[in-house]
Amino acid sequence: MFLTKEEEQMLAGERGLGHQRAMELLAALGKIYDADRLIPITSAHLSGVSYKTIGDGGSDFLMEMARDSKVCVPTTLNPAGMDLQRWRDMGVSSSFAEKQKAIIDSYGKLGVETNCTCTPYFTGNAPKQGDAVAWAESSALSYVNSVLNARTNREGGPGALAAAIIGKTPRYGLHLDENRAPTVIIEAAVEDEITAYSLLGHAVGLKVGAAIPYFKNIRPDCNGLKTMAAAMAAAGSVAKFHVEGVTPGWQSQELKGLEKISIGSKELAAAKDALTSGREPDLIALGCPHLSQMEMKMLASMLDGKQRNRDAPEVWFCTSRVVKTWCPKETAVLERFGKVVCDTCMIVAPIEANHKCTATNSAKACTYLPGLCSQKVVCDSYPVLLEMIL
């Protein structure tokens, strides 16, 4: 990979250890993927935030990087292992909380915006069409590639941090036009409902793996798109998709000769069955990816004026702190039924300490909860899950 004189100097350590490490990482990734050069990025989004995933080793690394380097493009952060304010309410231990706060402090010192959310595109970090960016978080980067039509590869947390520090990323993969075209057509016959979109994403991810699907016959809104993106990335490794009539540029895609796959209610029912492993949840967790303002309003209107059943399991409404401040009335309604939890989610929080069976409407959460949180899982739609608490 070609490096400019300035980039070579960074690699040689002339701008300090942080820049050197960051440049080493970009150079290594560039070599692995046969990139020809680095290109400037307009924003970054980082994963690798929860103490539960990155541990003390990850924390040490961030502290070291924060000593002499800072990000130079707007950079946001994925969910942490706890609500940074109400962690005690979540049953998080104080030793975990201390370590989690140290990680957030390091990101703050690095100049990263520390609103911890997997949907930063709803709250200020929304790349423009055609922008090159470096995003981690598989659901968010797929949303950015597909719905916003900006360009990012599937970055890992450290690679995205390195790109944010240097302000550049290696040019390969989804930064190139020829790698963004659809590779398979999905003829979908599903209900226009958020859980159906999630299960559709799951079924497609399992079937196509790393392909770029082109969906026909569906009209998801931004909430449907975010949950589809999340499910496809978790079940497969889909980093970009097209939806006819919905995503930018759908008109100009070449579909001739592509394989067609039909997915309907039968496949969705099978996906739901396969994801379900439990029966009696002790936690109902909604908001994977984080609830949008619209979803907060919808959930609040479904619950307003009703009474919580005293024997109902604990409920979490996971969202970003920004969306929570936008929704004071809705938050007040939802808090009568459960906790509006910010900065975190059911996957990255250490829920296994207090819970054994979690119910959710997100196929992504259902995919990860058994392995990452030792949970049995109940997979169902918003109305069914809310019924459990009334």
Binding site: R21, E24, L25, A28, L29, K31, I32, S47, G48, T53, I54, G55, D56, G57, G58, D60, F61, G156, G157, P158, G159
Partner: protein, 258 residues
């Protein structure tokens, strides 16, 4: 023996090799507190701490990069990593932990326990105990049949095995000149016509690395006069070779040439 790979993360170290023959995930594949491999790695209990760690490529969860940082914290990191083909997770962990790493190495040329010098600045690996020999192997063809020669008990290697015409390339000599000279000496065939050559092929037997230059010649005759290096010869059909006791690498050479 000197192998040229590609630098992924810099550093120069020397140590003993722990070699796995299947893809490896740091998450779940090693216990960070002890540096010992777990059962999922296929070499449970082996310590990679302070060793040079070789495996074909990384696999599994991105959390693996952080496992490597945890090993750094615990002081249980290997000295360096060698891969056939680097991928993101291990390369990221290596750079973050400042661990020398080289890829594009033919792992079949390395053996568990080899003492290695790894220069991850240049991507080179040296194994002093393994000596290199550069040789030619010539396959002679006449009317669709191939000449197989049985090596005598007087030659230094692979005695009693079937092979083509072969010989060491002396310092200063070129592969093609050596090939023609050896054909004349070993089977007394003049003016063989070169059909094609194949890229140099490396194979290791014990403490010897063979750098083989394969050549395919058309022989103007089927009359062969062997010298002391062989006891017997046969013109065979190409597919017969696999059922004969042949020298290591000969199947590959035939595949590359035919």
């Amino acid at each position: 023996m000197r192998l040229a790979g590609r630098s992924i993360c810099r550093g120069v170290v020397e140590g003993d090799l722990v070699l796995l023959d299947s893809p490896f995930s740091f998450l779940g594949g090693v216990e960070p507190s002890s540096g010992r491999l777990t059962s999922t790695s296929g070499a449970a209990g082996t310590s990679i701490s302070g060793k040079i760690f070789g495996f074909p490529r990384g696999r599994g969860s991105t959390v693996g990069s952080y496992t490597m940082l945890q090993m750094k914290r615990e002081g249980t990191l290997p000295l360096a990593i060698i891969n056939e083909r680097a991928e993101t997770i291990v390369a990221t962990g290596a750079v973050m932990a400042g661990l020398p790493m080289v890829d594009s190495i033919d792992m079949s040329l390395l053996k568990n326990g080899d003492r290695l010098k790894v220069n991850a600045d240049t991507g080179e690996i040296e194994v002093d105990a393994v000596k290199e020999s550069e040789v030619v192997t010539c396959v002679l063809m006449h009317e669709g049949k191939l000449l197989a020669l049985k090596r005598s008990m007087k030659v230094s290697t692979n005695q009693g095995m079937w092979a083509g015409v072969s010989g060491y390339i002396e310092p200063g000599a070129g592969p093609i000149d050596t090939a023609i000279k050896e054909i004349k000496e070993e089977v007394a065939i003049e003016h063989p016509r070169l059909i094609r050559s194949a890229p140099m092929y490396s194979i290791r037997t014990g403490d010897r690395l063979w750098r083989i230059h394969p050549f395919l010649f058309e022989s103007p005759t089927d009359e062969v006069t062997i010298d002391w290096e062989h006891t017997e010869y046969r013109w065979i059909e190409p597919q017969e070779a696999e059922s004969m006791l042949i020298v290591p690498g000969f199947v590959h050479v035939l595949k590359a040439l035919l």
